[in-house]
Symmetry: C2
Subunit: 164 residues, 2 copies
């Protein structure tokens, strides 16, 4: 079951982030800051939407998305993470499907996902390609020397929003 | 003379932004928000650096840049604008040179500039190309349908920071 994140989900969201093994300390701090904005101001004022995938009341994973300022209908998937013990069960894909549906419902027309070009993110990039995303742009050495920014997009005016 | 912006420069910076003719109301509001962050917190805490080009005490133009969070040594040129009455005198280029020098002094290695692919921004894109920037990436329909994001970069590890 995927629902809008509630205040009580914060601890589990931050634990999943810390335990994911792919985020560095600065990234973990960033998620905590986005969560605090969302928790204290709500999605409209903060610009951040958090959704959680729950099973028997437990948070299995979450996603955070929001509209990109200064654009018309462009949304960013800021963050998506699944509890390491719940992987390979389609949780990430379920969350991504829900983000797409939410973005379309909110009037979004383009979803942008930024990730790294490093070898360790090959499964992440394959996940987005398999979900119908376009590898739209690369900015070489963006994160650090040798670590490119890779930008995936899905344009809902030309691609169906729902994956399945 | 290019100097770090002081509190008293705020009014002229916001006037130049409003009178530039290329920024829409949401963009003008964004500049005001960045300026308020810089003015109240300073460059380190806000992450925004403002510099102004002055002539006889008057602000002719300004630039705003800062380090991109979650990167090592990547800086964004967030904003650059010149008073319409001072154009075609090299003010924009002087400001850009100073931004490059500042970024290098701060340990930056990559400067990223985002602009629009619209026809009306052709002079802007030509300006960056003439200044040695690489057209690194395009995200189609990013700002709105038909209005692409165009990303220019200069890597100071492979290109000289100073233009002249």
């Amino acid at each position: 079951m995927i629902v809008t994140a509630q205040e009580k989900d914060g601890t589990e969201i931050l634990n999943i982030t810390a335990q994911s093994g792919v985020f560095d300390p600065e990234e973990i701090t960033t998620v905590a800051e986005l969560w605090e904005e969302y928790r204290s101001k709500g999605p409209e004022k903060s610009g951040y939407h958090f959704i959680v995938l729950k099973d028997a009341g437990r948070v299995m994973g979450y996603a955070c998305y929001g509209q990109r300022p200064l654009t018309v209908g462009t949304y960013d998937l800021y963050w998506i993470a699944v509890d390491p013990s719940c992987r390979r069960q389609g949780a990430g894909r379920q969350l991504l499907v829900q983000v797409e549906q939410d973005v379309c419902r909110l009037g979004g027309r383009l979803l942008v996902i930024e990730t790294s070009g490093l070898e360790m993110y090959t499964p992440t990039r394959s996940f987005y390609l398999a979900a119908g995303y376009q590898l739209e742009a690369t900015i070489r050495d963006f994160y650090k020397p040798g670590d490119d920014l890779v930008v995936f997009t899905k344009n809902f005016q030309t691609k169906k929003p729902i994956l399945e």
